[in-house]
């Protein structure tokens, strides 16, 4: 090392991280985990406690006790307590992530059996949920979902973005109450949105179920998501940009429409995508409003309409193994859509605002 410094005349000292765990500490942690696993296996084998729950519970308890004892013997009481809680928090995050792993694993395990190409080419006109999985498909549900979501987007995106523009650009006297109401609106239960459309549109006006009614209910659920995410994005736009627009003699309208909104473009798309992800799996209002169908219906204003959540719901309620497999296949496709949307929002969101 020292010769290197002399030869190159460069300071070659690496940054020091004395707080980072040393190899010895890493080895100790690893040893404790292995010991806890061994204890859990032995205890499950010897005592009458059985099952996955017993393995996990004993493993976690053993890890906590071992960690505490070990640290306390080495460094004293405060260090013992400290490492006890460190382990406890690590266990908590494990428990948080476990359901996600379980959900993804189960959806794939149970759903892939129901996947076949004719799912995307046929509807359920000729077949029933209880018939073998190979017959029929869910193209009608996919088309229905796309139409319903598209209309919901057309309704809610302008309203959501206008709300965000009001909160960030106009900052009028209603700003605080509106910000509060938007937050309150994001807590409206989805079934209430469905009942509202039922009371406001279906019974007094149309008297029939159709896809458009489902779209409005979903739009109500989507507006707060779009508004709040857009608001956050618009707040990140530097004030300089607005001032530059005004200094050039532009009106407020032009500086917002031609400078601020284009600068926030990717963030606004993130808001829209998050909103779509929020409503794409909403089931309760769809069950109340769209009626459900076995065939493709591309007219949202007349006739009942199927959608993916409703297809899954019907499969679940039909109650036969074939119907369950269909429901799991449906949820696999729905989940894939959600993950694609989520990844898209992440990608756009990671871009720098204003570029």
């Amino acid at each position: 090392m020292s010769t290197n410094v002399v030869e190159n005349k460069v300071c070659d000292v690496k940054p020091q991280t004395p707080w980072a765990p040393s190899n010895k500490q890493r080895f100790t942690t690893f040893g404790l985990v292995v010991a806890a696993a061994v204890i859990s296996f032995v205890l499950v084998g010897v005592t009458p406690m059985k099952g996955k729950l017993a393995y996990f519970a004993i493993f976690f308890a053993a890890l906590l006790i071992l960690d505490y004892t070990f640290s306390r013997m080495q460094f004293g009481k405060a260090a013992g307590v400290d490492s006890f809680f460190r382990t406890l928090f690590t266990i908590a995050i494990t428990i948080t992530v476990l359901p996600v792993v379980s959900i993804l694993w189960n959806v794939w395990l149970r759903g892939h059996k129901g996947l076949h190409w004719s799912l995307f080419t046929t509807d359920m006109k000729q077949s029933d949920f209880t018939q073998p999985v190979g017959s029929g498909g869910l193209i009608h549900a996919i088309i229905g979902t796309l139409i319903i979501i598209a209309i919901a987007v057309i309704i809610s995106v302008p309203i959501g973005i206008l709300t965000a523009v009001y909160l960030t650009e106009i900052k009028g006297r209603f700003s605080r109450p509106i910000a509060f109401l938007v937050q309150a609106m994001s807590g409206v239960p989805s079934i209430v949105a469905g009942l509202f459309i039922l009371a406001a549109i279906v019974y007094p006006l149309t008297k029939h179920f159709n896809g458009f009614e489902g779209s409005i209910a979903l739009a109500i659920l989507m507006i707060p998501t779009v508004a709040r995410t857009s608001e956050e994005v618009l707040r990140l736009i530097p004030e300089d940009l607005r001032e530059a627009g005004l200094a050039l003699g532009g009106t407020q309208w032009r500086s917002v429409a031609l400078i601020v909104l284009p600068a926030a473009r990717s963030g606004l798309f993130t808001a829209i995508i998050l909103g779509v992800a929020r409503i794409i799996g909403e089931t309760a209002p769809i069950v109340l409003l769209t009626g459900g169908a076995n065939v493709i219906n591309i007219n949202p204003f007349s006739g009942t309409m199927e959608s993916l959540p409703l297809y899954i719901w019907s499969g679940l309620l039909s109650g036969t193994p074939e119907a369950f497999t269909r429901a799991w296949a449906g949820i696999l496709i729905l989940l894939a859509l959600v993950i694609v949307l989520f990844a898209g929002a992440r990608y756009l969101g990671s871009k720098k605002v204003g570029k």
């Binding site: 099952g51 729950l53 260090a79 307590v81 400290d82 006890f84 809680f85 460190r86 928090f89 908590a92 995050i93 428990i95 948080t96 359901p99 996600v100 379980s102 959900i103 959806v107 309203i159 206008l162 009001y166 106009i170 900052k171 009028g172 209603f174 509106i178 309150a184 994001s186 807590g187 409206v188 239960p189 989805s190 079934i191 209430v192 009942l195 509202f196 009371a199 406001a200 019974y203 109500i220 507006i223 005004l246 050039l248 532009g250 009106t251 407020q252 032009r254 429409a257 284009p262 473009r265 998050l274 992800a277 799996g281 089931t283 309760a284 109340l288 719901w313 369950f324 949820i331 729905l334």
Partner: protein
């Protein structure tokens, strides 16, 4: 007022005598929103500026908003008020439709538990003779939400502490992505997973609890050992659903713990746990309470996921392990299937109660969270 003048001065632009000509390009994708907003100013194409030989007249400075700005502000304010309008309309329509039921049933709507519609001789539902009571459903909703908070909040808060103070950045990034994804999972997915995967596990746990703790009244089993689809299991699925919400809010709050106090705790020789206990916790406490209430609102309004893992019975049941519970939202969905148009009015009344309840809980929660978390309105 001062604020208004301020924007006017900024916003109207000056009526400049010297011609400044811009050409704006309309090719940006945001043009879509521009068109939706309405007024369309034709862009002025650029022209050659010829300097006039005479001295221009004195510039007139005005704070009067131009027509386009008036329209713009009107439209945006209208859009902004939409949330108020929508919430108001929900309240009005549900009250209007539910009025008959509430009037006929009176206080019994909240104290009774029977749900039975009686058809009068003329073929219409007789709201006087029918029994519509949601006491069991309301109590069931609260029990499920309470169980969810009991299990979900400690785990979520501890996860948030781990992510804020302990996790290496790679693990943190991954875990945050996973938890955000979990928040985006549709409730039908939780419903399906709850019915097929969590329910058997929950039944096993419930049997264990019943075996060892049946000296506690709420864990007793008054009628036949029936553990399937109990409030306990509905509470578990709700716990899983609220964990991502509480985790992300708590994480936001813990991340804002003042750095100087954190460093001071370390400088005094405190361990990490001592710092969390004495600095981070007191700082974040009220925000975590707000996040918990937000989760409570979410748990009370959840429909589909609860529907699949809860057996709805129209009787108040305090025995959480018994497969007989109540839930307002799920009851609405359950009854809707074979309800006549008039019976749906009774469901509207139940929906109104649910709406009011979640609105109040959410509002209180937001007030608390907004006071704690900086950067929220």
């Amino acid at each position: 007022m001062a604020q208004g003048l301020d924007w006017m001065a900024r916003g109207c632009g000056l009526e400049a005598g010297v011609g400044f000509h811009f050409s704006f390009t309309w090719s940006s994708p945001i043009g879509f929103f521009v068109l939706l907003i309405g007024v369309n100013h034709c862009p002025v194409s650029s022209t050659v500026i010829q300097t006039p030989p005479v001295i221009p007249a004195k510039r007139e400075i005005t704070t009067k908003p131009r027509f386009s700005d008036k329209v713009f502000r009107g439209v945006v304010t209208g859009g902004g008020l939409s949330s108020l309008i929508i919430l108001g309309l929900i309240l009005i329509f549900l009250s209007y439709e539910g009025f008959d039921t509430l009037k006929a049933q009176g206080i019994h709507f909240f104290t009774g538990s029977k749900w039975q519609s009686v058809t009068a001789a003329n073929g219409h539902v007789d709201f006087k003779a029918s029994h519509f009571g949601i006491a069991a459903m309301l109590i069931g909703t609260l029990i499920c939400a309470f169980i969810a908070i009991l299990f979900g909040v400690p785990i979520a808060v501890m996860s948030a502490i781990f992510l804020t103070f302990y996790a290496p950045s790679a693990i943190k990034k991954l875990a945050v992505t996973v938890i955000d994804l979990m928040a985006a999972f549709p409730s039908i997915l939780f419903g399906l997973w709850g019915y097929f995967v969590l329910d058997p596990i929950g039944v096993y746990w419930a049997k264990l609890i019943h075996k060892y703790f049946n000296w506690i009244p709420i864990f007793q089993m008054p009628s036949g050992p029936y553990f399937d689809r109990s409030p306990f299991i509905a509470g578990l699925i709700l716990a899983v659903m609220i964990i991502p919400i509480v985790t992300s809010i708590s994480r936001e709050i813990f991340a804002q713990t003042p750095l100087d106090r954190v460093q001071a705790a370390y400088a005094l020789g405190g361990t990490k746990w001592a710092m969390i206990k004495n600095v981070a916790f007191p700082y974040a406490r009220s925000g975590v309470v707000g996040g918990t209430m937000l989760a409570l609102g979410r748990a009370m309004g959840e429909t589909v996921a609860v529907y699949t893992v809860l057996n709805i019975v129209y009787q108040i049941n305090w025995h959480v392990l018994l497969g007989a519970g109540g839930n307002v939202a799920s009851m609405i969905l359950l009854q809707f299937g074979d309800a006549s148009t008039e019976e749906v009015k009774a469901l509207m009344a139940a929906g109104l109660v649910l709406f009011a309840l979640t609105l109040v809980v959410n509002s209180i929660a937001n007030l608390i969270v907004n006071r704690t978390v900086k950067g929220r309105a």
